[in-house]
Symmetry: none
Subunit: 145 residues, 2 copies
């Protein structure tokens, strides 16, 4: 077994779910992808990459991983598709381009310093937040204007 897969095997065992080649492949693809992907994107990549897999298996696997907190499931955005990404246990935000549906990762959380301001000014103790930013990326600005 590949070294990579041994690592995955441990993770899955720790979470109490079985190790299968599909799950290894999905974890590997998620690890390789830079931005959150849809179930269908994964499905297509899996078909190219490895043996055949069923779309419902992809969905079920992603659900399993999400419930184990291995994967983060994003809210549907404008195109009506849910996106998944590996949970790196770090706080992250994205820019969503409404032109080409690309997701761009933000380096740092824009809410970070706000948190202290709110504590000082309003004595409000922030425990969490959601932030989604829409707009046009560099490329799509040319097309849409």
């Amino acid at each position: 077994m590949l070294e990579q897969n041994l690592k995955y095997k441990e993770v899955l065992k720790r979470e109490g779910v079985k190790s299968t080649r599909h799950r290894f492949a999905i974890l590997e693809l998620l690890e390789q992808s830079e931005s959150p992907v849809t179930a269908e994107q994964l499905f297509i990549l899996l078909r190219e990459k490895t043996a055949s897999i069923n779309l419902s298996t992809v969905y079920r696997t992603l659900d399993t991983f999400t419930s184990k907190n291995l994967v983060i499931k994003s809210n549907r955005v404008d195109d009506g598709k849910v996106r998944y990404e590996l949970n790196h246990h770090e706080h992250k935000h994205h820019l969503f381009c409404v032109g080409c549906h690309k997701l761009i990762s933000l380096e740092e959380c824009p809410i970070g310093e706000l948190q202290q301001t709110l504590k000082k000014k309003l004595d409000f103790e922030v425990t969490g937040h959601n932030l989604e930013i829409y707009g046009y990326c560099h490329n799509c600005q040319r097309i849409h204007s």
Copy 2:
């Protein structure tokens, strides 16, 4: 015609769309509702309240209103349903206290200056955003700690 409806009639005329009883009813319901509603919720209310209406008319009307900026269409949340609310033409964010469920209004939008930063650094043209902040208000901090 009701006074209320006269007001709506003007608004719709200004936007260049026809005035119909369905549209009046939808505007009225949106005005009455305190939080964003789904198309189906509206549909059910409309059935109770007025004469019959078709669900696709509700969707089409909401789309029309959204394109005219009379209504704000929110992203689907976890339940997979889009929600609509009247556009009061004010950009606002709230702090949501998870202790007492109180909403505290923020004076200004914390994303405002971020918008220019993103344009400069990434050439990303922001067109909109969602921000929800959770935490404990002054009172609830005492109770929960």
